[in-house]
């Protein structure tokens, strides 16, 4: 492999020059201007980031570059020049020679972007052979080398495997190998890490950055995550409603955004590098992007913009406002800065509760700002040695119970001890023994009344299973679940049913979790009827309106169907449904991970406000550590079905004791280019081992730099190392 690293400092000719690109979808409902006059250039070896929420046109832009779009999408005007050649004027055969050779692309979902019935070898080799650069034998040898370069262990074996034999992260490495196989001058990566865990995301991003440096490959990285862009890209485009609204160096855009939309994106995400107690403030712009069929004639962001002025009814141009920094905003073009007016009365009084609430835009769609300050530290965590109990191999053994002499603190709302759930896999053969997925393997968990416990871990660590066990959607194999003093681990459905009133769940996917054939009113009144909480039609109507009001939806929208609402609004309906029966405890399983960052902030703010107003207790499951730290009082870190660490959120992130926690925190990208570049990242190698045959002793030992013989022999106990800070590690805090 030849490495051609062009000098980064020297002004390099543009590899790609796009000007006034317009891509439109000719749908039955009308013309959608998905990409509406986008211009940019990518220099040789440069890494450009394109950010924006879903529907902003960033992916359509990427696919337009290679002319991969199919009917009803058409590139109606504009110019795309790649290495001086006009892409839009190319014949199909010229285009084919360009694709995969000069310009390559990596897509978002590694699970679907490889052909399931073909071996990796064939998919990798055909890319090289299609462009006639290599014969089959040499292409195969190169393929093995490439897979090795992409960080796949035993590439000789991997190349003869099928895609289903790989994890998502591994498949994305294969996709990268395919993309890089002809050493393209430009690699377009469309949300390449969105479907991956944070530790794997960090690995893939680092790989991309190495490829950029080593091969001098220019990269266009498309992402909704500013943190992902920050580490890799030198320049950033921010897209909104089909237009570029801001363009500049990554440092400038992320630290001093000059368009209100970029400003909102930067401020909507909780960040690990900011102290949560000192003015922790999430800003959510209310409303949703404009209807792509009828965009407002003026500034497209104006209807949601907190900085809106009169002139915004005219459409602004993208103009230079500083060296290399362009913005499409009348306000910043006039030299004004984007500072939130300090008019919002931010409550800081602890009397008012821990969550001070500013104006929450009561009508979604109307330009309002939600600012939220979490002023006082979370509720005191029991100061005494709150016994968590050692994880037992025989979880029915409850002998540790006597250890925790509880001072007069409120009794826990939920107490889980030694919970175990193994799922049987289908047998391989008639006489083969059953194999089990050790999904949850002896988990202890305490949730006190009114607190929020965050549950984090990589996919497959058992967090969703744990949630389902607590709600008794699954029946645990063993262990105990005490909810409000009732033992429900093995209780019969009839016994649990009345308790379900107090235990509710909010699911991840707001599209799949609402029955599309029921109106909002039917969705909300069903739990009321089931639990006999409202009987007369008038009572029900009143309660439904009240619930919609609580989640800030139009109380009159009860007759509408879920498909008439946006993703964020649907998640509000989900929350309203959970609240219908006045529960005390809500399990939220990744409630915001399917949403755009702005909508995430709205839902987080809503959940915090509801907790304050209704005294709710949350078990909040998420893979986004910054979000978990933002909302949680205490955090539980799961690894492969076992608890690795439990601590108050502040302590956990300030001084993690378990090496796994440290890696997890380090893997989270920070949306600040200068920090992200300077930051020394701890990189967790490899992927979690199979939960079918988990490692002996400490489950993390196979990836742990501290691992000693004892780690393979003795499973570490979840012991209290500091006040309220538990870790299951033989060498806690030594990393």
């Amino acid at each position: 492999m030849r490495a051609a690293a062009p000098g980064r400092t020297a002004p390099t000719p543009a590899v790609l020059a796009v000007s006034d690109l317009r891509t439109q979808f000719f749908t039955d409902a009308g013309v959608v201007r998905a990409v509406d006059g986008v211009s940019f250039t990518v220099g040789a070896g440069e890494a450009l980031g394109i950010v924006g929420e879903s529907g902003s046109g960033k992916s359509v832009t990427a696919q337009s570059l290679m002319r991969l779009l199919e009917e009803p999408a058409r590139i109606v005007s504009g110019r795309i020049h790649f290495q001086g050649r006009d892409v839009l004027a190319m014949t199909p055969s010229e285009l084919r020679k360009l694709r995969g050779a000069g310009m390559a692309m990596v897509f978002q979902d590694p699970m679907t972007s490889l052909n399931p019935v073909l071996r990796i070898a064939r998919q990798l080799v055909e890319t090289m052979m299609a462009h006639g650069s290599f014969g089959e034998g040499e292409a195969t040898r190169r393929g093995v080398k490439l897979l090795g370069r992409m960080g796949i262990t035993t590439p000789e074996r991997a190349i003869n495997s099928y895609p289903h034999q790989f994890s998502g992260g591994m498949r994305q490495r294969v996709a990268l190998a395919m993309g890089m196989s002809n050493e393209p001058a430009l690699l377009i990566a469309d949300e390449p890490t969105t479907a991956l865990d944070v530790t794997i995301q960090a690995q893939i991003l680092e790989l991309l950055s190495e490829l950029n440096r080593e091969f001098g490959t220019a990269i266009v990285l498309i992402s909704h995550d500013l943190g992902v862009i920050a580490g890799l890209c030198s320049r950033v485009l921010v897209m909104y409603a089909g237009e570029v609204v801001e363009e500049g160096s990554a440092e400038a855009v992320l630290s001093d955004p000059k368009h209100p939309y970029s400003w909102a994106l930067v401020n909507a995400v909780p960040r690990l590098d900011r102290d949560p107690t000192a003015g922790k403030r999430l800003t959510a712009i209310e409303g949703a992007p404009p209807d792509p069929l009828s965009e407002p004639p003026g500034c497209r962001f104006a209807p949601r913009c907190p900085f809106r002025i009169e002139r915004c009814s005219d459409h602004p141009e993208l103009l230079e406002i500083g060296p290399g920094h362009k913005s499409r905003c009348w306000v910043t073009q006039a030299g004004a800065s984007l500072e939130l007016p300090a008019t919002a009365p931010l409550s800081t009084s602890p009397v008012a509760g821990e969550v001070g609430l500013a104006t929450e835009g009561s009508e979604p769609g109307e330009g309002g700002i939600v600012a939220l300050v979490r002023s006082s530290p979370p509720r005191p965590i029991s100061p005494s040695g709150r016994a968590f109990g050692a994880p037992k191999e025989r979880p029915t053994d409850l002998s540790h119970e006597g250890r925790g002499e509880e001072p007069p603190f409120p009794t826990p709302l939920l107490e889980v001890r030694g919970l175990v759930k193994h799922f049987a896999l289908p047998k391989r053969g008639f006489f083969e023994p059953h194999r089990y997925v050790h999904a949850v393997d002896g988990v202890d968990l305490t949730v006190k009344r009114g607190e929020t416990v965050g549950l984090v871990g990589e996919s497959g660590c058992g967090k969703s299973t744990l949630a389902r066990l607590i709600l008794r959607i699954h029946r645990p194999d063993s262990g105990s679940i005490l909810f409000e003093g009732n033992e429900i681990a093995q209780a019969l459905p009839g016994t649990i049913r009345p308790l379900r009133r107090h235990l509710q769940m909010v699911f991840q996917d707001p599209y799949a979790s609402l029955n599309s054939r029921m109106t909002v009113e039917q969705i909300l009144d069903e739990p009321l009827r089931v639990h006999g909480l409202a009987t007369t039609a008038a009572e029900i109507r009143e309660r439904v309106a009240e619930l919609l009001e609580i989640v800030r939806l139009d109380p009159k929208s009860g007759a509408r169907f879920p498909h008439e609402f946006s993703g964020g609004q649907r998640q509000r309906i989900s929350i309203a449904r959970a609240l219908a029966v006045k529960p005390s405890f809500i399990v939220a399983d990744e409630p915001i991970s399917a949403l755009d960052v702005n909508i995430q902030a709205q839902i987080l703010n809503l959940m915090l406000r509801l907790q304050e107003e209704l005294g709710l207790t949350y078990l909040f499951i998420a893979h986004d550590l910054a979000v978990v730290r933002h909302i949680s009082d205490r955090v539980v870190v799961l690894y492969l079905g076992k608890v690795a660490e439990v601590a108050p959120a502040k302590d956990l992130f300030a001084a993690p004791l378990h090496p796994y926690t440290r890696y997890l925190i380090s893997a989270v990208p920070i949306p600040d280019a200068s920090i992200e570049r300077r930051r020394e990242r701890l990189r967790l190698a490899g992927e979690p081992p199979s939960a079918v045959a988990p490692p002996s002793g400490c489950r993390f030992r196979t990836r742990c730099p501290l691992a000693q013989p004892i780690c393979a022999e003795t499973p570490p106990l979840l012991a209290e190392h500091r006040l309220g800070h538990f870790a299951a590690c033989h060498f806690a805090g030594q990393f």
């Binding site: 020679k97 694709r99 052909n115 073909l118």
Partner: protein
């Protein structure tokens, strides 16, 4: 993979055993006493005589013992003696089966060779005239009643235009080729008799088209849907982004995936053709299993009916086995 094959074989064997049990039980639980039917009123009133008869036919034995005897017979290729023809049932079936196998196979190949390419083209050139033709073919194929189609074809091509031969496997004056497989197309070629081969092939045209019509419609439609489904998968976009030729994308990437449901449907359709050709065989005077089944049912020839039922069951089981095994070849995710 070997483990998968063994497990499929084992399942098929168990299913075959169950099939014999079900067939035996149904035959033995049909109301009506075979003794009464065979002996008539006078003899049936003689207790000693009846007992002797029962002992002779083994009807005094317990049910499970009778099943074992039946099963032993089946395993030795003894399906009993047909009441109507007074010949061993297996011999009857062996005589009628080749005609059906020949007809069904030609019909099946016809529907496959036309249906799959037509469905593929229809999907690739969606909403073009090919697509419309494909839609018309599948609609007509699926919705035309067999007897109606058979009569129309005969009336048009044999009676009217006189370009196709009439019913039967060969011209009435022609001689069958020496029997090796019983398939006239094969036997005539083995004997080097080209004119008989032509005659047999010509006689196959109309009945095989009639028989294949519905299957052709189903296969065209399934191929089209399955291709469309796969043409919009992410991996196709990836293949395009790699700069592959469109031909290679369709044949190398889309088709292997699209074939998976077609194999399942095709296999079952073939089993259907093999076992359900009664109507076509009757109209075309085709001396096949369908007509034998029909006659046996008419004559309440229980040994023959049981024999045919068993053959039908085994046909389905074997074809299912073949489907399962080809799944394992087509889709690496099946046999891990």
């Amino acid at each position: 993979m070997p483990r998968y094959i063994v497990s499929r074989l084992a399942v098929t064997a168990v299913m075959a055993l169950l099939a014999t049990l079900v067939i035996f039980l149904i035959a033995n639980m049909v109301p009506g006493d075979p003794i009464l039917a065979q002996l008539g009123d006078v003899a049936a009133s003689n207790k000693a005589f009846v007992a002797e008869w029962r002992a002779k036919w083994g009807l005094d034995l317990p049910l499970w013992e009778r099943y074992l005897i039946f099963l032993k017979g089946v395993l030795h290729g003894d399906l009993g003696t047909s009441i109507a023809s007074q010949r061993p049932v297996l011999e009857d079936i062996a005589q009628y089966a080749p005609a059906t196998i020949e007809l069904a196979t030609v019909g099946f190949l016809l529907s496959l060779l036309i249906g799959v390419p037509l469905g593929m083209l229809a999907a690739i050139k969606r909403d073009s005239w090919v697509d419309h033709v494909a839609r018309a073919v599948s609609l007509i194929g699926v919705s035309s009643p067999t007897f109606w189609l058979a009569f129309i074809m005969l009336a048009l091509f044999y009676g009217g235009l006189q370009i196709a031969p009439g019913p039967g496997r060969l011209d009435p004056i022609a001689f069958s080729p020496p029997t090796v497989t019983g398939l006239f197309l094969v036997d005539s070629l083995l004997a080097g008799d080209v004119s008989t081969f032509r005659d047999a092939a010509a006689h196959l045209i109309l009945p095989s088209i009639v028989l294949a019509a519905a299957t052709l419609g189903l296969i065209t439609r399934t191929t089209r849907a399955s291709m469309l489904d796969n043409l919009h998968q992410d991996y196709v976009r990836v293949a395009r982004a790699k700069g592959l030729r469109e031909r290679r994308i369709v044949n190398g990437h889309v088709l292997p995936n699209a074939l998976i449901p077609i194999v399942a449907l095709g296999g079952l359709a073939y089993a259907n053709l093999l076992t359900g050709a009664v109507m076509t065989e009757t109209v075309f005077s085709w001396p096949g299993l369908g007509r034998y089944t029909f006659r046996s049912a008419e004559a309440l020839d229980f040994p023959a009916i049981m024999g045919i039922t068993l053959v039908v069951a085994l046909t389905y089981l074997i074809i299912n086995l073949v489907i399962d095994l080809s799944y394992a070849i087509l889709d690496p995710r099946v046999a891990r």
